[in-house]
Amino acid sequence: MSVIQDPVNAGVTSGQQEPGGTNYINHSKGALSWLLTLDHKRIGLMYMVMVLAAFLLGGSFAVALRTLLFLRAAPDVAPMTPASQDLYNQFFTLHGAILVFMFIIPAVPAILGNMILPLMLGAKDVAFPRLNLLSWYCYMAGGGFFLYVLLSGGLDTGWTFYTPYSTSTNTSVAAATLGAFVLGFSSILTGLNFIATIHMLRPPGMGWFQMPLFLWALYATSVIQVLATPVLAITLLLLFAERVLHVGIFDPALGGDPVLFQHFFWFYSHPAVYIMILPAMGIISELMATFCRRQIFGYSFIAFSSIAIALLGFLVWGHHMYTTQSAMANAVFSLITFSVAIPSAIKVFNWLATMYKGSISLATPMLYSLAFIWLFTIGGLTGVFLGSLSLDIMAHDTTFVVAHFHSVMVGSMLTAFLGGMYYWWPKMFGKMYNETVAKVAWFLIFIGFNLTFFVLFVAGSQGMPRRYADFLPEFAIYHKISTVGSYVLAIGLFLVLYNWIHSLLAGRKAPQNPWGGNTLEWHTSSPPPHENFIEEPFVSEPYQMHAWDYDESIDGYVFNRARAEELEKQGHH
């Protein structure tokens, strides 16, 4: 905390400006200044561009596969042919593989984590900026492999690469496994970086329990990334060896064990589900506190439930294998699966309690948090159904499962991601977005998503298998509704994109703190300068909303240092 500063007026100025008013975006120019940058914010932006491109690509496949199913519901128009079945297999595989490996996993940590984590710590950068850049290049290389897959025969194994089919199909499995392998490195490097950064670069005055909850969530996520992803790496290496050399470890025709592949795969991929949802939960904790303008309810419970979810997440992978593994393993996994519901529910109840008697502002990010709670509750509770053995044996591989995990991995994660993007958008770019358009887009996304997936719960409970290009006539209506829903969802997402681009081109200049949050990223200018803070920010309790006063002239909040110090003293006595 720099001493020479008038405590009352600190922050009344539009924040911390570099001399000449430069910020991290215009700090230096030229393509190389981006491609060789070590600045976490620029790397976050480069991740944003690529991850959103992957989202567009994978999302297109999703809409395409829904369209194929819609056409199937009108067989006179488009009769089923082997070619259209192959196309369907390709579409659902590519939508899954691209969206899982290239969108859902990196989205929150690599974009918002990279962008916000060092700012929240009041640090100049992550602990290992070079590894951070390497992580982005790994992502690019992995993306390159997937592009190669697209151009060379595609992929039809499902994103799970289950053996023995993946060892025998003549699509580009080898390139896809290499791609996912390299993307895994990108994920590991991000996680490693965050762990070291949170351990070593917390500012004086910020103990573990003064950290914003987003950081707890990112920390828990990083632990999973670091401990689970290497197992995916070896799984994919072995699968690659299986394809190229026919080593036989996973191939039953050669004496191998395909169920072993499932153990390998899900030891990573179940925890990976928490890589997707934990940082999303972290975002929701931030949004809840800021937009209810009050101290988050049950801070330490939310913090510890993140860690609990991360650890328990490693012990439940077998619930993907109820139909293939031993009865003993089934019983153990079912039991532990139920226990994951506890920390998840703790979070939901804490968010609800935060809203209770809060002064809730229904800004776009808050609307997304509400959508998150709705979708996460649906996804979570249906997860409890599926955790019970007897029900899962029946619902296994039906669209009920599809609807369940899309509610969590897409519905919840996507709404939290979008909420977080809107929340930090002014900080990232220094521009505001159009609130009305944002709300319309939110509405379309919320309606579209529920339309798409709610009917799949119904269809699945009546026996509609997943990953089928064909279905009985009684399922036609569900598929029609679902496809229409996916179009609504897609329109909503394009509207979001339009709003963002419009904001970049013609958005109103953003104040330093448009929402009144007190985490450290709001203590620097929007967008932040090259090294994040010109003056050391005032570190205090992260959800102390009363340290900020609303200033109508800038439509933003202004830091009241004197009051902040007063509140800080009170908090200690």
């Binding site: 799970t160 289950y162 023995p164 089919y165 025998s168 070593m200 401990l227 169920v259 153990h263 031993s326």
Partner: protein, 118 residues
């Protein structure tokens, strides 16, 4: 308080300097255990052999970790990382091994190739 700020040592060097006798002593022990583990294979102890071999390996690994890798003198958190890694590995192998009883030695070849479910 970030971990780095807890001690403020500038005057003394960074990290622990291992004395030569200790390095050589650890090396001698490692060689001794290597000879031991090979020698034990010439005695038939039934299924105990593998466990003895693994126990010796664990001791050797601990020596390398504690002394060559300075864990004994490092921040305990680094040891915690190592132990956590082994713990999760144990969970992985342990639970996967529960399934070995289900392994079928002979699987009839599938009649047709079908898309994989999952």
């Amino acid at each position: 308080m970030s971990d780095a700020h807890t001690h403020d040592g500038h005057d003394h060097g960074i990290g622990h300097v291992s004395p030569v006798w200790m390095l050589l002593g650890v090396f001698a022990l490692l060689i001794f255990f290597t000879v031991l583990t090979v020698a034990v294979t010439y005695v038939d102890l039934g299924s105990a052999n593998i466990w003895i071999a693994l126990a010796v390996a664990v001791v050797k690994g601990a020596l390398v970790g504690l002394y060559f890798m300075h864990l004994r003198y490092d921040s305990p958190f680094n040891s915690l990382i190592l132990v956590t890694a082994f713990l999760f590995l144990a969970v992985f192998i342990g639970i996967a091994l529960m399934d070995t009883g289900e392994y079928q030695q002979n699987i009839p070849p599938p009649a047709t190739v079908r898309p994989v479910a999952g």
